[in-house]
Subunit: 398 residues, 2 copies
Amino acid sequence: MLPFDILEYQQRLSHTKKRMEDCGIDVLLITDPANMNYLSGYDAWSFYVHQMLVIVIDEDQPLWIGRYLDANGARLTTWIYEENVIAYPDHYVHSDQHHPMDFISEILIQIGQGNRTVGVEMDHYYFTGKALEQLRKGLPNARFKDATLLVNKVRMIKSDQEIEYMRRAAQIADLAMQKGVESIYPGVRECDTASEIYAHLIKGTPHYGGEYPAIVPLLPTGDRTSIPHLTWSDRPFVDGNAVIIELAGCYKRYHVPLARTISIGQPNEQLKQVTPVVLEGIQAVLQKAKPGITCGELEETWRTTIKKHGYEKEARLGYSVGLNYPPDWGEHTGSIRKGDPTVLQQNMTFHLIPALWFNKDGIEISETFRVTESGSERFTSYPQELIIRDHLDNGQIS
Amino acid sequence: MLPFDILEYQQRLSHTKKRMEDCGIDVLLITDPANMNYLSGYDAWSFYVHQMLVIVIDEDQPLWIGRYLDANGARLTTWIYEENVIAYPDHYVHSDQHHPMDFISEILIQIGQGNRTVGVEMDHYYFTGKALEQLRKGLPNARFKDATLLVNKVRMIKSDQEIEYMRRAAQIADLAMQKGVESIYPGVRECDTASEIYAHLIKGTPHYGGEYPAIVPLLPTGDRTSIPHLTWSDRPFVDGNAVIIELAGCYKRYHVPLARTISIGQPNEQLKQVTPVVLEGIQAVLQKAKPGITCGELEETWRTTIKKHGYEKEARLGYSVGLNYPPDWGEHTGSIRKGDPTVLQQNMTFHLIPALWFNKDGIEISETFRVTESGSERFTSYPQELIIRDHLDNGQIS
């Protein structure tokens, strides 16, 4: 049932405890669903209610605390002992009378943790301002420390099994991209292509069923290609427009994102000119990447490569990627941007997405890569190029 | 471009300001993407970075403050004037050096709002503990008030245009349910059915393209039907098992959820016995619902109806539903549960999901309904029954 050997979970836990010790944290309250999954295996769409994984530094087992409706899910999907799954009653759910953090505070006091140093993921989605305030009230003798990214940093270097899951996610990404691209014709609606992409992301391959990605497929079109985070509409594609597809295959919650730019009909001059620059930049970064290089140096490589051709890009180029839940597949640790000091190590994984956006349009061609012993390797095999969907008079694509 | 007339946005804003006034709030910082959309039209998958809509009680226009990459999206999808779209640079994104709330605090001080009473959505997703702390540091002369659910409460009563969008979402829900159910055969994988459902949710109808629902389709199967929030796997369906499908059609971000229970082959005795009880309970609640009745009275109706047959259910039965973004389509205001004092009013909309879960399995049959002038009406038209997928020897379904 568990996607990883129990020893792998125990190793993750011990790495986490080492960091807790370094930070002087006795009790770590984990809200990030990816971090909960990473340490316990817990996997359910229940993060819309308050829930936590509690790591006590001198206890072998984590505690799962959540809504009682979800406790069976915790029993089924984690390696946590039955008695460590603790459920709060339903009157705590979305109530202005009762807050789940009051319940969690009481539990922590009952198990003798009320006067220790408590780490909380201060800037993670789902750890609300109210949750912080209620915990402070409920645990007046505890000291609080910010543990944002503590577990995320443990997650950066993937195990061989995690890499294997990402390879399967990559097969799904390749397939969904191919089917999505093939569906694009003038007159087809954006939502029809999004539907095709989704269908294949979820169906997966005959061997590996797909899962929901942490971000929906994005496919800005025409002058919206300059606005990367708009979702699809039901407008039809128009000949002469470009479409950017950004998607991720997902397997066992591991993501491999992939972006491509598609020209419907022959590309305009700007796209024609900028494509080889982006491709040269990507190649330069992938060749530069190896253990010991920093994320900042990767950005510098990109910047100097495209500058030769007169281009500049201000936004970051990429980020660490892997296990995740909505609303983001990025890990929020290493970013490929100016001055980022993250040092690449073997089996770190990044989404390199050096998009160029102009006033009225943009181009995105991306690769997810793994840092190998001596370099880097792509996960997907989809052609790294500007894709041209030129429809002929007989309705065929050239 | 905007899904609603500009007058409708202005009316929503004026209702919001009325509530701000009642609560003594001068400046409202809105983090909930549904509330941002409700007041401004803003619609993008950008809520994985910090962003806000700022309502100043004595200013006509809201301010949108977010990542500079997303500012074009704010210009395109909202009715906010160009100069009220304010963007922070990319080095604030997922950084441990710079926090977007510092930027937002500076803006508020610059526009003379630094010493006023500031409402924050304390318990909304995406308003993190860190965001609260940074705002408090950045605005030392402001007084903070909890404004959780302030805008959500304005959202409870829908306009005719909102109801129309929910009717379109209902058509999509009916279609996706039908296609999902038709795909279920022994040997088909759960992910194949999830794929079919997703494809139709997103494609929508020929007239109305679908959008991503705020929760993925859930389809617990076999003994997992007792665990409502697990997502699909790639295991094949087995003859004799039950499947619960819970999905929502989504149009212009308005949701109509729908759940049904499907028996693969003939249902077991428990399912046969409990189905008419659930259906009787649903009918009783829908007949009871009308303006003036409380949510608590609806729960009482359900409870006494099923108790006659010896059943009890502890969890809540339903909740207010409508406009939303991941991770939840519920509005977090009225809940159909014991003692809830919410008084039904015309054009409130609820998802009534009186599931019964037992130790090893469960049943869910749900309806999304609108409170009418004198009663209630369902949005979807999918048959309200236990669905039996009995495959014959020739592979046909009876």
